[in-house]
Amino acid sequence: MSAGPNATEPNPHDHIPAAASNFLTRYVFSTDHKVIGVQFLFSSLFFFAVGGLMAMVIRWQLAWPWKPVPILSQWLWSSPGLGGQMPPEFYNKLFTMHATIMIFFVIIPLLTGAFGNFLIPLMIGARDMAFPKLNMFSYWIMWPGFVLITLSFFVEGGAAEAGWTSYPPLATAARSTPGSLNGQTYWLLALLCAGISSLTGSINYITTIVMLRSPGMKMFRMPMTVWALFITALLQAFALPVLTSALLMQTLDRLAGTNFFTPVGGAVANAPAAVGGGAPLLWQHLFWFYSHPAVYIMILPGMGIASDVISTFSRKPLFGYKPMVIAMGAIAGLGFIVWGHHMFQSGMNPALGATFMLSTMMIALPSAIKVFNWIGTMWGGRIQYTSAMLNAMAFVSMFIIGGLSGIFMAATPVDIHIHDTYFIVGHIHYVLFGGSTFAVFAGIYYWFPKLFGRMMSERLGLIHFFLTFLFFNGTFFFMHIVGWHGHMRRIADPTVYEFLRTPGVVGMNQFMTICAFGLGASQLIFAWNFFYSLVAGPVAGPNPWKANSLEWATASPPPYYNFETLPRVYHPPYEFSVPGGEDDFLPQTTPLPDNITLDPVMA
């Protein structure tokens, strides 16, 4: 590989700081963004495993209701009196915690915490984040959250079971269901911790991206991943505080007896009536004001990663770089005014529903634009089927399904039927697993050499991808079908209903469960590949994929100061296969050949 002439004039005032002095400050309470990124990576992958196991137990119950779960039932919840059966409230805890963990402790920390921390300074050519100590804080404040969410299983009544949406009064009335006794309070506090982490992180990211770009790194020369993380951080900064306020109000409703979400005289399960005066719908509005943008928080970084990976392995410039950025901005902007589509059947004013339908339909547009652009990027390229590329292509392919199924829900009348059914569950998993998780895999395969200086096994990667892709579709596709057949979500036993007791539905449920186990088992290959390569993978050079962006201009793994001298940047990171070039890539630190001028609108 050619390093390219580094044209940076040495800056006499830029100097390399001293290294962290001991083990504790270097690896545990480190202020190095790379170490913090790796910390985020490991803790969220751990919780990924926990959340995945929960999902499998959920699937077991849906396929074979009330049959004792093999192995796990012995030591998790069964009492002799139940004969190994899962109590229905435990089922509710499982799906509540599965969603909570996957959303707040896996996907968001993985995408923004792990990739955001590791990549932003490297990709914009900075030595570290703007506020390294704040960065460290944003990781360690996750820990109270981890601890609280784990502890909540062991308090009286057990973990929260009001769903990850925690609609009051189910969530606020202590006696409404066992998990609302204590677990819900733990849930709220855990989410507050995760929220503070995201908030401090996002302020740090925005500041870093705005202020610390290396010379020549204009905003429109940043990689899509950085753009995506930047817009994600903006979404978080503006939406999360509203959730924080709502979480605090719910906490106060539970602990201080305030009345925000309790209707006049509200009483549940023979508890004394509350004074009330508030409205349960208020929580839903505030919650979705954050949690709808949160959906984009969970998909935008994936879009960024997919863009970078697809361009690199198509050996071709990204199709429509600026339109892609603008589409992402449009998603973020529109994302703030569509939250009501989660509430079409909630008793919300139907006129408001009609408005929200219009804005929701419009947000499908930028997503469509991005899909077309990804296909355009591959068109005419030289596609290299690495594990990272396959996962990124799976992201595109599955995101199409997830995006199109979203249109059914945006259509208010159709939503009347499919709201709160498995159709929704299928949709969210096509976006969050088919989308974000494949993007996470793509990102890990792609940046693993940069993270740890070693290559992952491509062979195992391909096998892992093949199995994951097949089992993923087997697990989640039929959810659309049982969903439009009317299968409600969050029910512990579908066979209570005649129309869900039919052989077709039961068969699909069992098929999905078997595929889910396959999906879970396939991840063992990934885990083996990950940990084996960590210690014994072949050593990677600085730029194993021959990519252009700045992180590949330094050693793998990068030294704690990232760059010997801050690199100077000459063009966007997607100049692959420039005609007349010796190599098929042109690092950002190398000027464009004289005969090339970039299209000012597209590139």
């Binding site: 800056n11 005032h13 830029d14 390399i16 700081p17 900075a126 030595r127 570290d128 984040m129 703007a130 506020f131 908030l199 302020i203 740090n204 925005i206 500041t207 870093t208 705005v210 202020m211 610390l212 770009r213 010379p215 020549g216 204009k218 905003m219 429109f220 930047f230 817009i231 903006l234 979404l235 900064a237 503006f238 999360l240 505080p241 509203v242 959730l243 924080t244 306020s245 709502a246 605090l248 109000m249 106060l252 201080a256 007896g257 305030t258 009345n259 925000f260 006049v264 005289g265 004074v275 009330g276 005066g277 508030g278 409205a279 208020l282 505030l286 603008i326 901005g329 973020a332 902007g333």
Partner: protein
């Protein structure tokens, strides 16, 4: 919002000064902002959204409150349509012999001891409710004969506690106006501190910082006093609270009041602590006309807290 163009503008292609490691590039053109300032304003934007969640909820809770939610005679959210008896007696003063006044009330209404004690304690705004017109007249006359001050009132409802109405609203506007003055003054001393250090007047800056801390502390003290009065110190008539104490659970108004002013108070407390640290730092002489970022950022935060209070004072107390 326009995230796509938000960041593009001042992004000078020049090296913005590698702040994390000191020594801003001397040859670089002056950065339009420092990372600290960007982060501070971003933080304030998140704070705006946080208070939007709280104040927006307050506004809609208030706007959506049904017209009969509060009344001068009955506790909030009492279903008034089922109550036939809608006269009450306001006890201005229990007179020379409260025990006999209590007896009179007990005879007229059959209320328990605790309830009657609350009526007496709530004077001059004590309210005896649940009376017929005739009963109310009789009781008022009887009480007046005992030397107490009492008058008959009829039921008046409102959708929200009205300011200056002691029967429904426990908040003291006078006290809080004074407190608002104090906070505004602290904002002024804060900006004077920044202005002083910008001109290199270190001693003056410290002095103004100290003044700000003290004024902030006084504001907090008054708020603590107010909270104590509301929660414990006084007994209020039933239109405010069925238990006599104004606590977060007694009505939606109480919930909103304690939540918004409480979180504002926490912000003030955090500001006072920060300013105290900045003040102590200023005593070491580390701030100068070229290095006053910490003072400036603390000031921004402090002014923001002041702005929030200006809104809260208007929305919660006056309107």
């Amino acid at each position: 919002m326009a995230p796509a163009d938000a960041p593009t503008h001042p992004a000078a292609p020049t090296h913005p000064g590698d702040r994390a490691h000191g020594h801003p590039a001397a040859d670089a053109s002056p950065a339009p902002a420092t990372p600290g300032k960007v982060a501070m304003w971003l933080f304030l934007a998140t704070e705006i959204m946080f208070f939007t969640g709280l104040i927006g909820s307050y506004i809609v809770c208030r706007g959506g409150s049904p017209p009969t939610a509060y009344s001068n005679l009955y506790p909030p959210t009492t279903p008034l349509d089922r109550l036939g008896d809608s006269k009450g007696v306001v006890l201005g003063a229990p007179g020379a012999d409260p025990a006999r006044a209590a007896e009179a009330i007990a005879a007229a209404t059959g209320k328990g001891e605790a309830a009657i004690a609350r009526v007496l304690a709530a004077a001059p705004h004590g309210v005896v409710n649940g009376l017929t017109e005739e009963g109310a007249t009789k009781l008022a006359e009887g009480l007046n004969r005992l030397g107490a001050k009492a008058e008959v009132v009829s039921l008046k409802t409102s959708s929200w506690p009205r300011p200056y109405d002691p029967a429904t609203n426990p908040l003291s506007i006078d006290l809080t106006t004074v407190n608002t003055f104090i906070l505004i003054c602290s904002s002024a001393t804060m900006v004077l501190a920044v202005s002083a250090i910008q001109r290199g007047r270190k001693a003056k800056c410290s002095l103004y910082l100290l003044a700000t801390v003290v004024l902030g502390g006084v504001f907090l003290g008054v708020q603590v006093f107010e909270y104590h009065e509301l929660l414990e110190g006084r007994i209020y008539p039933p239109g405010i609270s069925p238990t006599g104490h104004f606590r977060p659970g007694v009505s939606l108004f109480a919930s909103c009041f304690f939540t918004v002013t409480g979180f504002h108070g926490l912000h003030v407390a955090a500001g006072v602590v920060t300013l105290l640290l900045v003040f102590l730092a200023s005593l070491t002489g580390r701030f100068s006309s070229r290095n006053f970022a910490a003072v400036e950022y603390a000031g921004l935060y402090w002014h923001f807290v002041d702005v929030v209070w200006i809104l809260l004072f208007t929305i919660v107390y006056l309107v």
